[in-house]
């Protein structure tokens, strides 16, 4: 049964379709353009779409975090890297060998097909009951109790990442001292 286009549910459906479009367009831009900076833009668009999907999956918190971390931090970082490493993009027009292009298409297509096939044909069992509603409060509770390991690991990973990035940047910059 399809809801009317102008009911709130129908509008939500339209927006969902738009979000899917945004995600896939972003993915296409991110992988198929020649200039890296456009790829990053595509990535950002894709993440905006993904954040919308998360919102539909009833977790606005993760959606916001997706925007904050991916668009605001990861994309900016990558854009920075591009600026530092390839400021003039002189050698953009490097030939991509047709072999790698077709290989990539085949691999990617096969992966997507396999995963999609598994997804559609899998027998997914809905749970009988939900023990909580997945709100931020519950999430915070379980993050600090059941899954506190994740919390700790994330903090260590981030710390290491910061130190590692500093060390690497320093080493690249100043070899002699």
């Amino acid at each position: 049964m399809s809801p009317s286009l102008f009911s709130p549910e129908g509008l939500a459906g339209v927006i969902f379709l738009i979000l899917i479009g945004v995600t896939l367009t972003g993915a296409v831009i991110a992988t198929c353009t020649k200039r890296l900076i456009r790829s990053v833009t595509g990535l950002a668009i894709c993440f905006v779409g993904v954040a919308g999907l998360y919102y539909f999956l009833n977790s606005p918190f993760v959606a916001m975090m997706e925007l904050l971390i991916y668009v605001g931090a990861v994309c900016v970082t990558i854009a920075f890297a591009i600026m530092l490493a390839e400021p003039n993009e002189a050698r953009v027009a490097r030939k991509i060998s047709p072999l790698s292009g077709s290989l990539a298409t085949i691999c990617g297509g096969a992966m997507a097909y396999a995963l999609g096939y598994a997804a559609v044909n899998g027998q997914w069992m809905a749970p009988a009951i939900k023990i909580n509603d997945g709100s931020v409060k519950e999430m915070g509770m379980s993050l600090l109790t059941t899954y506190s390991m994740v919390f700790e690991v994330v903090s260590i990973v981030l710390l290491l990442a910061i130190i590692g990035a500093l060390v690497l940047a320093k080493a690249g910059r100043d070899k002699q001292c």
Partner: protein, 373 residues
């Protein structure tokens, strides 16, 4: 940073072209800057965009006809340049100047110096991103320009001095106006210090930035506030007295910090000292002719070299002429202070942040037409 800048083959450098039209250069100066990120590896000034060959003009005109050129060198302290030329030719031709004329000269030169420093102050803070002090400085500067206009007739490119005196006499209106200006301007200086000098942001940008040692000044021939900001007590008005300067009681502000702040402070203090000189001159000014009576129409100095130096707003302006006994100069050489002051920029700016280097350049107080001549 200097250790990092030492090995450049791995460095990621790029060239940045600042100018000839750029908000920070205040004129048509160009800087070819090689940058490493935000740091300057090498900054090479490129001059000559408004070169007008004043020296050749000096060779081709009679002594009298060279007057208007002086106002077009350093358009901000044009009267000091007038003074330099007047002194040079008077020395060469042996012309006596009446005392009143000398007093008038000193008053106008010092007014002009204040005006120049005010403009520099505004433009310097503008370089640092503060727009408002510029407007306040311009307000005061307008008063000076009005005063000078009422006596010289022009507002910027003065052509006021003549051999043996000045173009026309000052009147009582000018004297009362100048006194009123001094009274009005004195309390403004602490206001500037409150608004600008004490500001923590400005201090952060000026203190310990742009170090120029006295030895470096000597090697590069830097003079004026740059030299005095490096702790050298040298002022032509004191050390090589000309005109009636020995009769006045004034101090030469000297700061030993050698940084941009020191140069800034020197200029601010110099304004106060100029006010003192003007006050004394107004008190002491004698009556008498304002121009020597017997000035020959055709000036023919004795053959030989002559040299005369004055303290312009930016440093030592010295003129050297070679006379061959005719009524024209055989060779006229204008030594402009900022030319030498800027020549140390390339060395001093190495390893600086771009923003700091431009602030440092502002603290040198450049006037481009004077450099290019």
């Amino acid at each position: 940073m200097s250790t990092l800048l030492g090995q450049s083959q791995l460095q990621e450098t790029f060239e940045l072209n600042i100018g000839p039209q750029h908000p920070a250069t205040h004129g048509v100066l160009r800087l070819k800057v090689t940058m490493d990120g935000e740091y300057i590896v090498k900054a090479e000034p490129v001059l000559g965009y408004i070169h007008r060959m004043h020296e050749k003009m000096g060779e081709n005109r009679t002594w009298n006809k060279f007057w208007p050129n002086l106002g077009r060198l350093d358009y901000l302290s044009a009267i000091a340049y007038n003074h330099g030329y007047a002194g040079l030719v008077e020395r060469a031709a042996g012309i006596e100047v009446p005392e009143r004329a000398e007093y008038i000269r000193v008053i106008t030169v010092e007014l002009n110096r204040i005006q120049s420093h005010l403009l520099w102050f505004g433009a310097f803070v503008l370089d640092l991103g503060g727009f408002t002090p510029l407007m306040y400085a311009f307000d005061e500067r307008e008063q000076i320009l009005d005063l000078l206009e009422s006596v010289t007739g022009s507002r910027l490119t003065y052509c006021y001095f003549r051999f043996g005196g000045v173009y026309n006499d000052i009147d009582d209106d000018f004297i009362t106006g100048t006194r009123a200006f001094i009274k009005r301007f004195r309390p403004q200086i602490p206001m500037y210090h409150d608004l600008v000098t004490g500001n923590v942001i400005l201090m952060e940008r000026l203190v310990d930035i742009g170090h120029v040692s006295s030895e470096m000044c000597r090697k590069y021939g830097a003079t004026g506030p740059v030299l005095r900001g490096s702790g050298v007590n040298f002022d032509i008005r004191k050390n090589e007295p000309y005109s009636v300067y020995p009769e006045f009681d004034f101090d030469v502000p000297v700061y030993t910090e050698c940084d941009s702040m020191a140069r800034y402070m020197v200029r601010m203090k110099e304004m106060e000292q100029s006010l003192r000189i003007i006050e004394q001159a107004l008190d002491k000014i004698p009556d008498g002719p304002y121009i020597a009576e017997k000035v020959p129409k055709m000036i023919k100095p004795v053959k030989g070299d002559y040299h005369f130096a004055v303290e312009a707003a930016r440093g030592t302006f010295s003129m050297r002429t070679v006379s061959d006994g005719t009524n024209q100069s055989y060779r006229m050489r204008l030594r402009s202070p900022t030319y030498s002051n800027l020549s140390l920029f390339e060395e001093a700016s190495r390893g600086m942040l771009l923003a700091d280097a431009l602030a440092f350049m502002g603290s040198l107080d450049l006037v481009i037409p004077e450099m290019d001549r």
